[in-house]
């Protein structure tokens, strides 16, 4: 089987839009969660989120192009540009045609939809902006990356709610392994912080009013985030031949569906996806030193994920360490899995396990080593990145040292 390397990473995140700022915040446990500033909050009961700060579209896009791009597509393109420059790739005609662009998103152009409906129903506007449809479509992120960078290979969006970014990376991984693409830009993008979306999340009663505390007994729910992460994947041989810097090797991908509940997570389904990823990587459970958990900070997710990890790893569960990046990043839905895969790759390359920030008290229902608050310098041979989505859709990646 072809081996696949991660050779470029680009992020747009609530804690910074370049890789060093992003990594520093994760390692220091500096949270990007704060009061919402980008939308009116009078009608919201929950007024915190992990917003991308200081995003000025005109600094990144020609003023004539801006009306064509929803905020989520802007994030996707900026992350992709950073990833390609980070990888040092130059696309000639042949490579451009052999490069896949696969971008996960949970809901697509929510800002466009929300603004449009407000104009139409709230302000009785007679018409909507002519680019409403191309802005809001779920594939807009993937399409704009392909146009911006001139990538002409297989390009599409993947939607599986909170697992979209992970599914996208996994599908891209499979496409390169199977020979369908030589290089892939894969990841996720989301910009879901609108009044309409937040009211919907409020009604589900799962949002925290203060902050996100994964695995802590005092956790009080999830906090929504936004952003994008794009990884450059390519054949390991190709990366070595061009002397590229390699963050980590992508080793395995596992998927499953719970076929149980549309909202509640399921330990059996989650465990099957983790096992599938380990089997795909052809490694034993005890090769895993670190897990970047889904860790949303809800009572149910964190306890269920703990059960799933115990079910898969048995006694080794007490020797590995896990952490959730969502205390720092919030829950970026379709972007979350990609941001976390990026964090996992950086952890392997830099031999540092980022902590679970905002941690207060241990919970008997989450009795694993969750790296509370303080990062740990430690070699990571192989790591797992978990994503378990609403709809019972699970996606898990295994990454390893090269």
């Amino acid at each position: 089987m072809n081996r696949i390397a991660i050779t470029g990473i680009g992020v747009v995140s609530p804690v910074g839009n370049n890789l060093e700022e992003y990594w520093q915040a994760l390692v220091e446990g500096r949270s990007g969660i704060g009061p919402i500033t980008s939308i009116p909050t009078e009608r919201l009961n929950i007024r915190i989120a992990a917003e991308v700060k200081n995003h000025v579209p005109e600094q990144n896009f020609d003023a004539r192009i801006v009306p064509l791009l929803d905020r989520f597509a802007q994030f996707a393109v900026i992350a992709a540009r950073h990833a390609v420059s980070d990888a040092g790739l130059i696309f000639g005609e042949e490579l451009a045609q052999a490069t896949a662009t696969i971008v996960g998103t949970g809901v697509g152009g929510q800002n466009t939809l929300d603004d449009g409906y407000f104009r139409l129903y709230g302000q009785n506007a007679a018409r909507l902006h002519p680019f409403t449809i191309p802005r809001l479509m779920v594939n807009a992120g993937a399409s704009h990356i392909s146009m911006d960078l001139g990538l002409r290979g297989p390009t599409f969006a993947v939607a599986s709610a909170c697992a979209s970014g992970t599914h996208a990376i996994g599908v891209a991984f499979d496409m390169i392994r199977s020979g369908r693409a030589a290089v892939a830009l894969a990841g996720g993008a989301e910009a879901c912080l609108t009044v309409g979306t937040l009211k919907g999340w409020e009604a589900l009663r799962v949002l925290s009013a203060d902050t996100c505390r994964p695995f802590s007994r005092t956790r009080s729910g999830l906090v929504l985030g936004e952003g994008a992460a794009i990884l450059v994947l390519e054949l390991l041989d190709r990366a070595i031949a061009r002397n590229a810097r390699i963050y980590a090797e992508l080793r395995g991908f596992g998927m499953s569906a719970d076929a149980a509940d549309i909202i509640a997570p399921n330990a059996e389904g989650s465990a099957r996806a983790i096992r599938a990823a380990l089997d795909d990587a052809r490694i034993a459970e005890d090769s895993i030193d670190y897990i970047n958990a889904h860790g949303t900070g809800t009572m149910l997710n964190d306890a269920t994920e703990t059960q799933a990890i115990r079910a898969v790893f048995g006694a080794h569960a007490d020797r590995l360490a896990i952490s959730s990046s969502k205390a720092v990043l919030g829950h970026g839905l379709g972007a979350a899995g990609a941001l976390e895969a990026a964090a996992t790759a950086l952890a392997i390359q830099r031999r540092v396990m980022p902590p679970t920030a905002n941690f207060e008290e241990s919970d008997p229902a989450c009795d694993l080593d969750v790296i509370p608050n303080i990062a740990r310098e430690q070699r990571i041979r192989c790591a797992v990145s978990n994503s378990f989505a609403f709809g019972g859709l699970n996606a898990v990646l295994v990454l390893g040292e090269v």
Binding site: N45, A203, L204, R205, V206, L207, S208, A209, R219, S220, G221, D261, I263, A264, G297, T298, M299, L300
Partner: protein, 86 residues
């Protein structure tokens, strides 16, 4: 305010196979098969019916207890009393 209890009973009855006549203030939600996700829907209907906001988060013990129908009714009454007072 006996009608608050009746409204709460009729809203909860829609989420259980137990008839409305069997629901009393002492009835525990877990006894009649009302799960967390049902309670989210019940709270939505209560908020719509009484035009109030109920501070309920599935992840947190809220200052209001929602174990029995009587507790929910009391919670609604106290929120209504506060909203008329202000």
């Amino acid at each position: 305010m006996a009608d608050v209890l009746d409204e709460v009973r009729s809203i909860i009855a829609k989420h259980t196979s137990v008839g409305v006549e069997a629901l009393t203030p002492e009835t525990r939600l877990d006894e009649i098969g009302v799960e967390s996700v049902d309670l989210v829907e019940i709270m939505f209907e209560i908020e719509e019916q009484f035009m109030i906001e109920v501070p309920y988060n599935t992840n947190k013990e809220t200052r209001l207890e929602f174990t029995t129908i009587g507790q929910i009714t009391e919670g609604v009454r106290s929120i209504l009393a506060k909203s008329t007072a202000s």
